[in-house]
Symmetry: C2
Subunit: 377 residues, 2 copies
Amino acid sequence: MDAVTRRAWAYLSRVAEPPNPELAQLVCKVGAVEAADLVRRRDRNLDDRLKRSTQARHELDCAESDLDILDRMAGRLVTVDDDEYPGLAFTALRHVTVDDKRPQAHAPLVLWTVGPASMIDVAERSAALVGTRAASAYGEYVAGDLAVGLVERDVAVVSGGAYGIDGAAHRATLAADGVTVAVLACGIDVPYPSGHSALFHRISRSGLLVSEYPPGMRPTRRQFLSRNRLVAALGRATVVVEAGVRSGAANTAAWADAMGRMVGAVPGPITSASSVGCHTLIDGDAKVITRAADIVELIGRMGELAPDLERPVSELDALTGAELAVYEALPRRGSRTVDEIAVTAGLPVTDVLGPLTMLDVRGLVTQVDGCWKLAKR
Amino acid sequence: MDAVTRRAWAYLSRVAEPPNPELAQLVCKVGAVEAADLVRRRDRNLDDRLKRSTQARHELDCAESDLDILDRMAGRLVTVDDDEYPGLAFTALRHVTVDDKRPQAHAPLVLWTVGPASMIDVAERSAALVGTRAASAYGEYVAGDLAVGLVERDVAVVSGGAYGIDGAAHRATLAADGVTVAVLACGIDVPYPSGHSALFHRISRSGLLVSEYPPGMRPTRRQFLSRNRLVAALGRATVVVEAGVRSGAANTAAWADAMGRMVGAVPGPITSASSVGCHTLIDGDAKVITRAADIVELIGRMGELAPDLERPVSELDALTGAELAVYEALPRRGSRTVDEIAVTAGLPVTDVLGPLTMLDVRGLVTQVDGCWKLAKR
């Protein structure tokens, strides 16, 4: 990408609050350089809505310094024209809206990214692990455990970089040498929350930091809600690990659901406030997630099913109804005659002999002096 | 009921392993006295299957002593002919079967009961709370908490009298002065498990002990499975509080489901082995139960819906998208001009004034020297 085009994209990234469908349309029609020029000049042929939405910032041109910051972080500007732009993942974003407080779910025009991971690869096999900042020790443990299980199954872990569940998922993924993506609601150079600045640095070294917002932008509620749609779009499934009765995680799940993606939630103690949101989701359409294999089943290739739970097996499982009745008619200690067994089991004498022989063959009973007793185990 | 009829019922209760549909058919046709006589004499016109199933015990007549035990416990023999027989509750049992190890789910012919509660009343408004004997402290707490909530809502609590979840449900119901029913897999005079003999005594004083088996019968696997169908039938809904990967509680839930009754399950930590069965049920068709009101919603009268969860409300909830954007464009400290606000919010200046006025009216912002700042809260 030449310097002029790059500056045009950076300018467009800041000039309107993303996502802005009119701006996307214009860029699609005339290209980034021409679009930036038209907006900057407030060309009289500009769409009225676009004129309004770019009015406040059209003179604000920090493209040069924004790109300097990106370069110093060795980051990339990934645009809709780029090979790395995960168009397929964002296709589902078109025309989706969840409620009127939220901007419409259009695909992003420009993404500011730092890190070696490729967004295309990530979007191919990934899961979003999200949850409340007010996580319990249980929630953080489970987030970490699921993240490690996903890494073992070659799944990238997408989250929002927040305290609590998000942080636990990112950290565990890094610890397991997996690929993790943090989608930020602020500029990639803004350490928000500040306690995660070292974590973001580590993610930028092995995974990916992604933001729709130019450098320096502080996060706002609107941006958090808008960011959630990108978390949901970059994860092939969204799993809520813990969420209170009101939670941004439930919002991310709503985005995923609106995009037709699978949503899962982890159950927890009903006595825990931070599992209330998960139970509400499960009571709806969310899948119950109890292990990483359940998530892989949601996102995996055809036939990649979670193995059945291991069930302890008892020797008595293989017995027929009559065999079980005869077996249970024998006392723990002492022995019984065939007639006594018949009475206790409520079976005709003739129906007791066959089962006794079969139980004998299985080594479960033995015969002593014409009476039967349980075999010593 | 005259003494002869009563003895006939008691005899029939023991002569074949219940439930026995051929015996029930015969009793229905000729009455208990005549049926007992025919079986005892091994009448040649008897159905062949019935002849076989009563062969081992037809000479065994402990009716007299069985009734003595019942009388000493001040109990009642409740038969299909009885007013107290909850025929409606048992209607669903007809022709239901879950798997071939289990006897078919026919309605019981005779029930041995002790306690002041009426089975008809119980069956009208009741819930079965069941679960694993290997309950966790969490499970026992939740069982007790749900039981108390059910008592507050005039719901009788049915369970199986076992250690763990069953015991916790019975005990909490008694403590809250509610009605609890223990359906036993052994004779009503058999203290099984022995550690619950005092509990059974208390239940027999204020609630109800119920068994399909005559006095003295020890429990067997077959009887446990058969008993579970009565627990499911006497509860308008069945709720599994905790269950391992293999659990009798899941069996009770399967009975309830087969009868077309509602099944609920309580989620728990995914790290807990005793919640695995609940999560499997929830992953199927079981409702998520997080409070007693959820159970009442399953069993209650029309319109008896659980209240919505209380959601904390923020003053910002009522703001429009533009108002929120303007509000968030103001810094925590210091003030901004209208133009500055417009740039930060990405809105035209003309779209900032209206929202500012509305925010001022709500007391969220104030104007100082032509600039705007967040109001002190």
